[in-house]
């Protein structure tokens, strides 16, 4: 579990992040969203002990990163688009990290195969593509079999199959009870893998809620046999109804309620669509509100 409490970081009198508070819980994938310079990376760096907070706390499983006895066995991190020495081979890089985390050589070979780099294991990482470096970074993060994964823009450079692979991996990790905190600007991709959303803007948390809750507060698109009768009926149940061409846009009702009301007033319904708000819309609404 990740617990960020009133985290503040001041650089030269400017707040990089201020009173940032949110949690990322086991069994769920939490997406950390924000524009460039919004404070996402600063938050992740403080969480991982790479920067010091001016105030507040960033805890992993109830402790600060530097207090973890075996940090690489509790937290796996993907940062800065794949960190490795360009003169080292992928295999040597992973063995170096395995020695640091206490993982076995066998785990190194298994992970190289798992991330699809077995054939390129003895190439220098300086010759790797961005996507290969990201896969190596994911393998590095998984070495210690940590329960918590922290990933900063891990999808950068991955092709569509790589993204699908990463999505499956993270969903699998969360399903097994792990905690995943991921930041990305690929909102369409993120929408497919996150359960909870934290939107940070101007160094402050603007929204922290389950994605289902944020996107579920959407309107219904209804096309029926008698729009006047339907509008009046929905209105009586407290909904807001507007007409848009040949359809009604209904807010304040669930699809079930809208269907039941139509049945009650004996108006046939030809189309009933819940227009979910996409993550991009949610993010842009929040960003534009700043």
């Amino acid at each position: 579990m990740i617990d960020i409490r009133e985290l503040t970081k001041v650089y030269g009198g400017v707040d990089a992040v201020r009173d940032v508070t949110f949690t990322a819980v086991p069994g769920r994938v939490t997406g950390l969203l924000g524009l460039n310079g919004s404070g996402k990376s600063t938050t992740l760096r403080i969480l991982l002990g790479l920067s010091r907070a001016t105030r507040g706390a960033a805890l992993v499983n109830g402790r600060r990163y530097r207090e973890l006895k075996h940090p690489l066995r509790e937290v796996g991190a993907v940062l800065e688009q794949g960190l490795s020495h360009p003169g080292q081979t992928g295999h040597a890089h992973l063995v170096t990290q395995a020695l640091l985390s206490g993982a076995s050589r066998r785990r190194v070979n298994d992970l190289l195969a798992y991330v699809g780099l077995a054939a390129d294991a003895h190439k220098r990482t300086g010759d790797y593509s961005l996507g290969m470096r990201q896969r190596l970074a994911v393998a590095t993060a998984l070495l210690g079999e940590p329960s918590v994964l922290v990933l900063d823009e891990p999808a950068n450079g991955l092709d569509p199959s790589g993204m699908a692979w990463l999505r499956g991996l993270l969903r699998e990790h969360a399903a097994a009870g792990g905690t995943v905190l991921i930041s990305s600007h690929l909102l369409g991709e993120l929408e497919l893998m996150v359960d909870d959303v934290v939107i940070i803007a101007g160094g402050r948390v603007r929204v922290a809620a389950p994605l289902a809750q944020l996107s579920g507060a959407a309107r219904l698109r209804v096309r029926g046999g008698d729009h006047r009768l339907l509008s009046e009926a929905y209105g009586r149940y407290g909904a807001t109804v507007t007409a848009d061409g040949g359809v009604l846009l209904v807010s304040g009702l669930t699809p079930e309620q809208a269907g039941d009301i139509a049945l009650y007033v004996q108006v046939p319904v030809y189309e009933l669509v819940a227009e979910m708000q996409h993550l991009e819309d949610i993010f842009l609404n929040v960003a534009e509100a700043q």
Binding site: S41, S51, P71, L72, E80, Q88, A92, L99, L100
Partner: protein
């Protein structure tokens, strides 16, 4: 600490530029040893210093310091491990490259050089931790040795590399001077290694 040490040693020996440098420095030191035992000491010391600078500063240059600090968040322990690695590789360089001068009968110079190589290696690690950029540091020290220690100090003053040179010849006062330089470099290094690692 042992895990960082093993990891750092493995990293150093599997990065091609590191062992090429190690071999290169050792060859230069060994070749110059045929001409003079003092030359061997100087190049063994410069090699140990240069190697220490490269190994340490490369972590900041390629951002792998992030990986080290994720594995060992207590950064003073990471610094200690880097010092030990630099000492081990510096001693390896000096021990192997100095075999010709032992064969030529300069065993005393060989052993006194090996005694002070750890100090110049730790001095290199401390400097690289402070400056974090290997080229700036090596170029800066080249100028320092040529102009400050050579031209102005005439290689007689107890400055770092002059101290190493005389300490390797067994002069105790210069051993103490080098010890003082190394000890003076460590507190700022200990402070600098705790600095935030910001994004690349």
């Amino acid at each position: 600490m042992i895990a960082v040490l093993r990891s750092e040693l493995y990293r150093s020996l599997t990065v091609r530029s590191s062992w090429v440098s190690l071999t290169g420095f050792a060859l230069v030191a060994a070749l110059t040893g045929w001409f003079s035992e003092d030359f061997w000491s100087l190049f063994a010391g410069l090699g140990a210093f240069g190697l220490a600078v490269m190994l340490t500063a490369q972590h900041y240059q390629h951002r792998t310091a992030v990986l080290v600090f994720l594995g060992q968040p207590h950064r003073l322990r990471a610094l200690a491990a880097q010092c030990v690695v630099a000492i081990v590789l510096g001693l390896l360089l000096a021990a192997v490259s100095g075999i010709p001068i032992v064969l030529m009968g300069s065993a005393a110079q060989y052993s006194s050089t090996l005694t002070v190589v750890p100090l110049i290696a730790v001095f290199g690690v401390a400097n690289a931790t402070i400056v974090r950029r290997p080229l700036w540091l090596l170029a800066g020290y080249l100028g320092w040795v040529l102009f400050v220690e050579g031209l102005f100090g005439r290689l007689q003053e107890p400055l770092p590399f002059t101290s190493f040179l005389f300490a390797s010849a067994g002069r105790t006062e210069f051993v103490l001077a080098l010890l003082a330089w190394t000890a003076a470099a460590l507190p700022p290094a200990a402070w600098c290694i705790r600095r935030d690692l910001t994004s690349a």
